[in-house]
Amino acid sequence: MKVEHGIKGQQKTKITLDGLSFYYGKYKAIDNVSMEFFECMVTAIIGPSGCGKSTLIKSINRISEITNDVQVEGKVLLDNKNVYDRDVDLVDLRRRVGMVFQRPNPFPKSIYDNVAFGPRLYGVNNKKRLDEIVEYSLVKSALWNEVKDRLNQSAIGLSGGQQQRLCIARALAVDPEVLLMDEPCSALDPTATARIEELIEDLKKYYTIAIVTHNMQQAARISDYTGFLLNGQLIEYNITTAIFTNPDKKVTEDYITGRFG
């Protein structure tokens, strides 16, 4: 689905879904979806529970196939390279496409070790360099001031909102290009949610962000583009203001005005 938004051409396309269908076993979770994610923009995917939102963004970093039996048709192009090509290096793909999950999932390790986990995987062991990366990532995720004096304490002792920002820091520590966020605020209280939203606003200067949310106000507040997904099909995709003020389809309007979902 091409977006008609008037200022087309100014944005660089980062990710293109081209006729993507996604199966769990025999069950078709995504049905022939084509859309683009633009560089340094926040793209929100909205839709009722079970419509395939999470599956859609998880298809980009190929994380679903670890625990599930999946089949894919169509293409997911990251910088014009299909991530489902045979020669794709999954480790490199997942470094470039970072992910933040629905529930904060810090490792049961110290705050420092959580952030340093990624760089260490790639073999960075120089203490001074790691220190810098950890500080940089925590500053970027707006957590540094709260944790700088207790980097060696367990991450599990942090509050839910802090844990989620730590997970964002952990993802940033490997210097990704894209951030996938799967309902990152659904387990958080309104204050923590507001902080994460502020953070997203800041992070989009540097990263391409795809966020799944079932909170329509959130999508309206933070995203530049919004896609409405229903039963695995992309019903409508447009700049966010257009979706929320003047949707093309009746069903989109019904959903965003709370008539179902």
Partner: protein
Amino acid sequence: MNYDLQSSNFRASNVPNSTSPESGLKRFGDKRISDLLVESRQANVNRQRIQEFIIEKLLFAGGMAAILFIALIFIFLFKEGVKAFFLIKPIEFIGTHILDFDDNRVFACMWQPVGESGKYSIVPLLIGSFLVALPATVISTILGVGCGIYLAEIASAKVREIVKPAIELLAGIPTVVIGFLCLTLLATYVQNAFHTTFRLNAFVGALGVSLVIIPVIASITDDALRAVPNELREASYGLGATKWETIWKVVVPAGISGVTASIILGMGRALGETMIVVMATGNAALVTGNVFSSVRTMTATIAAELGAVPQGGPQYCALFLVGSLLFFITFVLNLVAELIISRMRKKLRL
């Protein structure tokens, strides 16, 4: 704060119309369902109260019984064991002076509980027990933890369905059968492989005991790792970790308390194992550091001798002392395991 709806500025038209809650609800005669429920509950309330009381007390008794049994066992063991100190000089539990071949008086640790001048040193028995239990723990930690990791993280559902029951079946083989196999088959292989002086030795016993504790360790490790939430695995993969890195750096550290517990429990099992060591270790009470030497464990000594000694005699009481010691060691082992686990839990806040 109380709002007075009457005096506030609501206009009647703003208030949603309410109908009577009674209308349209199911009735039996003049009674609503809730009336029936309340009535029948009234009738049952006394019976229910007694039921609750009895069940609560039964469960409490069940819990207390476990503690009571342990206490009784300990008291009985200890009571008989402590008598040994009145019949035998305490120093003799470590060793006695004997005359060697050149008629020199030497201090020796021997377990030779026969005749007038029986020798009751517990040292060779302790050494024997640990010479079997330690190698057995090492072997079964490597194989058992490996097996648990394989089951939890690598095996497909189909393979798991076959392998897990098979491993649990291994734990169900009577130990006398394993002892028999060790005695007849394994001992020969070990002797051929290592050219040992003694055919039956601590190492053969350790291999046999491993067969019993590998399933324990594998099964508990598997459970511990499967309890690690999937979100952690996803987070690890999401950062670009490979399967091996995810297992080694995330899943195992997160489940480490369970893995540690399984190892210590396994070691407790190894120390307490009797039938296999009676059959496979040669039962010579030697003071040695060599795993390929015959040994006599504490359990084997009790099993072999207790049935044939007069009650209340020095040997009888000495055996009870050995039993108390064994009980004490396994008790401490379990305590240590519990402490390690709770400390790790606190550290990781799992």
